[in-house]
């Protein structure tokens, strides 16, 4: 790989692991807690957000030298809102059931702080290709995070994954998992797991340095 491809690959991986929006930055918690009752909802939400994120970051990056500093936030919001409207209509067109399940949270992508944060902190300072690879990585990381929450909640709360029954008809659903507290519990458990990994890695690194 050429140096510039490697750099773009690094930008992409940044969002998936090192700066994962859900597990590391803990951003975008509103959709992460509200719509992750099933894996399908979680992945659809992740894809919709990734689309909005990538398109807006591309446009913001292309326009970064034209937009005056004073009105940049308003410009970003208009750009983001445009793509959110497109996604809103698109989901409504392909699946009304999904549209009802996601509810107001599709429109609320516009206030998702990951998108504005990326536009402000990254896309407005980088050339289009770099901005797009970063946005794709962030979107993928967000989707993975939502799927991690949604799959656990669907398996425990309903005994299914993507609608397929895993435990047979006698499964006892854990009602709390499809209720709002379940979202907090599962998110907390994932954060705990990641923090534990991080601490272990740190400890091993330190032990290696002392040896």
């Amino acid at each position: 790989m050429t140096p510039s491809t490697t750099a773009k690959w690094d930008e992409f991986m940044e969002g998936i692991w090192k700066q994962n929006p859900i597990f590391v930055m803990v951003l975008g918690m509103c959709p992460a807690l509200a719509v992750t009752v099933s894996a399908v909802n979680a992945i659809s939400m992740g894809i919709a957000t990734t689309f909005v994120l990538t398109c807006s970051c591309l446009l913001v990056s292309l326009m970064r030298k034209m937009v005056p500093k004073e009105v940049r936030i308003a410009t970003y919001i208009v750009i983001i809102a445009t793509f959110v409207t497109a996604v809103d209509y698109f989901i409504q067109a392909i699946s009304l059931a999904l549209y009802d399940a996601l509810g107001a949270f599709i429109q609320l992508i516009v206030v998702n702080c990951i998108i504005l944060g990326r536009a402000e902190a990254h896309a407005s300072r980088n050339p289009p290709l770099v901005a797009v690879s970063n946005a794709l990585g962030m979107g993928a990381g967000f989707t993975i995070g939502l799927f991690a929450l949604g799959s656990v909640r669907e398996i425990l709360g309903n005994g299914t994954l993507f609608g397929f029954s895993l435990f047979g008809e006698h499964f006892q659903p854990w009602v709390i998992m499809v209720l709002p507290p379940g979202g907090f519990f599962v998110l907390g458990a994932w954060l705990l797991l990641f923090a534990w990994f991080e601490r272990r890695k740190q400890a091993i690194k330190e032990a290696g340095q002392h040896a």
């Binding site: 005994g159 435990f167 499964f171 709390i176």
Partner: protein, 388 residues
């Protein structure tokens, strides 16, 4: 002559250690558990064993992997397990009991930092979790003193992990027992308007009632602990007094609609909660006035939840809310330090009491830096003013 050790207070230490207190609470709980097994037989025994075992295993794992305070030998996890098992229905599926035990220790205690750092009573955290997760199973009670209870499990106990338990109502029907006998006295009052006799409730000895261990026995065991000063008598007194007064006022206001205060006091888990759960040292106030306030709040909330919510029982949520309010209660009930507050004057300035887990800096190995006198101390007028 020995060396003179110079160290800060306290210089005189009492005999009471955490282990000793906890062990005595376990002693006080054992008769109650035995009575519970006598009432419900082998299912209750299995439930107590599984729940307590899960609590101990979880505690062991946390103590080993984390930087926790406390250890397995201090019996605190045993108490959590026993209390949790006593609050669950006797025929509660064992795997759900294991989930409750794990959540109680992991979420209620381990994640907060272990013994003494928990904000909420761990047993009630576990119960609140399974109440929200498995609302049907936790409301399914069976009558006590069934014949053959020492040899036959309640079928719902033995459900496979993750699977729906067998219906207890069908099992009761096969045994030719009125299914209504399987409801708790509070549920019967709430949903069917049937009021149990206070005398039957007090001893729990009348058959075919879905009741917990006898309130009289619990009070006796609590009295032992209070007498030996292992729990503060103010908290149970305040809870029972608060609940009793509120229930009595409402009863006096409208006897046709509200049940008598004795029914309120002796039904459900109020006595067990007041004596053993609300008095958890880590989650209740340390100031005497705070204890009265805390107890009164729990008593009031219990009656309010029982009367005006969709749930028949409200002790658990009342105690959890009381736990949450404890830091605030301690703040507003600070005692005036000696010499202050004379003639009803301002009582400000009391220091916050030290946390039981407090270790002085010197004990933790910290070295107090010595004051150094700067030789060339800059004079104020020579100091450069920074430009803004």
């Amino acid at each position: 002559m020995g060396t003179v050790e110079i160290r800060p207070a306290p210089h005189i230490r009492g005999e009471r250690t955490v282990e000793k207190i906890m062990l005595n609470v376990v002693y006080a709980l054992l008769p109650i558990c035995l009575f519970y097994v006598f009432q419900y037989g082998i299912s209750a025994l299995a439930s107590i064993t599984v729940v307590t075992g899960t609590c101990l295993l979880t505690e062991r794992w946390f103590v080993k992997t984390g930087t926790q305070s406390g250890n397995l030998a201090d019996f605190s996890a045993t108490i959590t397990g026993l209390l949790l098992a006593l609050t669950l229905p006797p025929g509660f599926p064992l795997w759900m009991g294991a989930v409750a035990g794990f959540v109680a220790i992991a979420l209620g205690k381990g994640l907060f930092g272990g013994l003494g750092f928990n904000v909420f009573n761990p047993a009630l955290v576990g119960r609140a979790f399974v109440q929200a997760a498995f609302p049907t199973s936790i409301a399914t009670y069976t009558p006590s003193f069934l014949s053959g209870r020492f040899f036959e499990f309640i079928p719902s106990s033995l459900a496979w992990p993750l699977m729906t338990p067998a219906s207890a109502a069908l099992w009761l029907k096969e045994k030719q027992i009125d299914a209504l006998a399987g409801a708790t006295p509070l549920a019967k009052w709430k949903f069917d308007g049937v009021l149990a006799e206070a005398g039957d409730l007090l001893t729990s000895l009348a058959g075919h009632m879905a009741v917990g261990p006898s309130p009289l026995l619990i009070l006796a065991c609590g009295a032992y602990l209070a007498f030996r000063r292992y729990l503060d008598w103010r908290i149970p007194t305040a809870i029972l007094g608060g609940a009793g007064v509120v229930a009595w006022l409402l009863f006096a206001f409208n006897p046709a609609y509200y049940p008598n205060p004795f029914f309120m006091l002796f039904s459900g888990g109020l006595i067990l909660g007041a004596v053993f759960m609300a008095t958890d040292m880590a989650t209740s106030p340390v100031t005497p006035r705070g204890m009265w306030l805390y107890g009164g709040l729990i008593g009031l909330l219990t009656v309010v939840i029982r009367y005006y919510s969709g749930l028949p029982e409200g002790v658990m949520y009342a105690i959890l809310i009381g736990n949450a309010a404890t830091p605030l209660i301690e703040r507003i009930t600070q005692p005036a330090p000696f010499g202050k507050g004379v003639l009803g004057r301002a009582k400000k300035g009391a220091s916050y009491p030290l946390h039981p887990g407090y270790i002085s800096r010197e004990e933790a190995g910290a070295v107090t830096p010595k004051k150094r006198i700067l030789k060339n101390k800059p004079k104020p007028d020579e100091r450069k003013t920074p430009h803004h």
